[in-house]
Symmetry: C3
Subunit: 310 residues, 3 copies
């Protein structure tokens, strides 16, 4: 059996994991990325094409990741006859403010406070979040007095958030329908261009994500996060049946308490930063890509593949 | 044989390590943390109880960690008939300024300079350290001119330190009575709420620890740190016989030279951030929790258990 | 067969890797570093000597690292009759601005912009880079208005760079003549003293490197970096035949695009921060030190040792 994906985002671990679990692997790669991906001995079939939409007709099991919506569009994915790992109707839930709010409210996960421009105070700091996952490049921080002018230049839907004086952590989960278990896989922190301020006089800089760093969160903070994970899974069962299948991530600001700033409704790029919690469940460290392949194996063994693909 | 601990701090690696080395595992968990810990397949016996003091009567080998003193108190631990891994009389040494000073002075490990309020300069920056390990939440930085007012609100014993213009690293050791060897296990950096300043205009923020990040220190800095570790072990042999047994950590500020800011007289939470140095001693990567279990195995094999428990 | 190196920089992973691949190991260590290195069970022969030049007559395979040029000097290394892993004439290329420029220009890797003092603007920020790898300790940032005075105190060759509002990442490669393959091994970020500014009011602080942190770069950024690696290898074939053999690193600033700030013409200290990309090529995680030993094994097996030593 073949596992297929697009060469981007988290495809390295998806392909490697599939290979380790005994699948053949197929990767759709754009011509300008060919040198790197063709150097790797873990890819059985490399399809070099400028048009990623070719994957919509793939006959293997397609593993979506954070670049799928950008490359293919929600509609094309939902209409595809391809066998997608996970619940492909869940993919859209991270892309719109109203869906994000609906999911988090139902799960009773505390959210960062959104404010109206009319409520803004001149000297307070705000975080302006642009709708949809864009690698953070368009989000910005600004004082209340700057907001009106700055927002007049924003073309996309946005939200003004009360700035949280804290750090941001991204919590990775795997929800297994076959084992009926939620696994907490790890935590990362983003490395963003604005982090340059740790070495220089302050300058407002873009929140563009450049990479991820593995974090060992204080163990006493994990049970609360795990409960949020459970509540999220529960809420999505109702909102988008059959609910979450496989990887997702909850994103939090922490200033002494956690406030959710969004989620990833698929494997999150932060899982590229290796973490050891998987060994608590699997006896050895397994990255999220391999965890997906393990779920496929378990499902195939029990003749339950249709429970983990849509 | 059973290894027991409290579900917090570094219990995940303690329990996992014990399991890997062939022990049964028992975990005391408060009801609100039950969901997370009960999802893990590495715990043989989960005792759900609001009262952690139940562990004081445990009949297994009790592995203390950074939450023990907070949950149980020094006195109850020292009086307990339970078999504690390590020297339980060493646990108190990190909790009082005078004990910390005594240990570091005897070991001749350079310390960060403490100053008296009367010596303080208006425009210099100071770090106010609150006595005892509190996860950093009450420490604060302030300019000399602000100190008097700020300190008038502090209820606990504190110390004013000259602020060090540098970074903070936490060095993890394991002292093996069975192998008669000191092992340098790794180095971490804390992630604290105040780190938020890497992305925003400066604001004094709490030093509350949120997590830990693994650091590969410049190799040329390790021999000096190892020597400090050796000296610390040597000094504790006299100060609190039989001295250090098992894990401890030395905490340093570095601005071109190391100055000690304290230590952990038990497994340090920073060992939750995985590091590879253990493989130098063990051929494979072993976390501190597993290292503890290995010491127990070595001791049991040689009939020397009483040398590693108190 | 014996693998020899100097006890510093990345010798831990070099020695461990050699041991894992079946070599004997020999380490030259200065007396004040003896305690640490003699505690490690992976060193077969520890030569304690205040004079590192003893390694120049070593009869094993000498693996150079970032401390070799500082301890031995380029000339002594090039004249040595010892069998050095890699192209020892490549070692000098990182040490002079004109060689760095020549290599990067030929490879068409975009560089950070160097400016003349006369072009400097009063209120712009600049980065002054001191020639040669010095662990970053003499580099500094300054506003244009401060430059003339600051530079008057600099004794060594320097370069004024336009300050880049971004973060710095270090990309580790292994170039295998035996497998005819370039492997992308991982990415790190430096921990420098100036990073202290993430928790305090800004103060210009030294860029002295204290350690390294592993970074999982966004996967979509890797193909471009891999292409730079290929181009670099290609250009060095002409500039310093037989070109790059084994490990090297390219150093970049990133503010939305990559600009090269230099390179390491040997194993880079940042490879001490463990990364998982090696498992893409080798099925298991292998540090750069072990990768070197693997190349030696491959070469020995095929009777091609002379292709990987000089």
């Amino acid at each position: 059996m073949i596992v297929s994906t697009i060469a981007s985002h988290s495809s390295l671990q998806i392909v490697q994991g599939a290979k380790k679990e005994g699948f053949k692997t197929r990767l759709y790669v754009s011509p300008k990325r060919k040198n790197f991906y063709s150097s790797l001995p873990i890819i059985d079939e490399l399809i070099v094409t400028p048009d990623m939409k070719a994957i919509l007709d793939d006959d293997g099991i397609i593993v979506p990741h954070g670049s799928f919506v950008a490359y293919l569009g929600i509609e094309a994915i939902e209409k595809s006859k391809g066998k997608f790992f996970g619940n492909k109707r869940f993919l859209k839930w991270e892309t719109k403010f109203n869906l994000v709010d609906k999911a988090l409210k139902k799960a009773k996960i505390p959210q960062v406070e959104a404010v109206d421009l009319s409520e803004v105070r001149e000297d307070d700091l705000y975080f302006v979040r642009i709708e949809g996952p864009k690698g953070g490049s368009d989000h910005f921080i600004a004082y209340g007095r700057e907001l009106e002018k700055r927002l007049s230049e924003v073309k996309e839907p946005y939200r003004i958030e009360r700035f949280i004086d804290g750090v941001f952590v991204y919590v990775h989960f795997f929800c297994s329908p076959i084992l009926e278990r939620l696994e907490l896989f790890g935590v990362d922190e983003r490395l963003v261009i604005a982090d340059a301020n740790k070495r220089r006089p302050f300058e407002p800089l873009p929140y563009t994500i450049l990479g991820n760093k593995s974090i060992a969160l204080r163990e006493s903070l994990l049970p609360e996060l795990y409960d949020y994970g459970l509540a999220f899974v529960e809420s999505m069962k109702d909102l988008e049946p059959p609910g979450v299948i496989g990887p997702f991530a909850l994103h939090f600001a922490y200033d002494g308490e956690f406030r959710c700033i969004g989620f990833a409704s698929r494997i999150d790029g932060g899982s590229n930063a290796k973490h050891w919690y998987s060994s608590l469940y699997w006896g050895e460290e397994v990255m999220m890509g391999q965890r997906i392949a393990k779920e496929l194996c378990l499902a195939l063994d029990e003749g339950r593949l249709e429970e983990v693909i849509t």
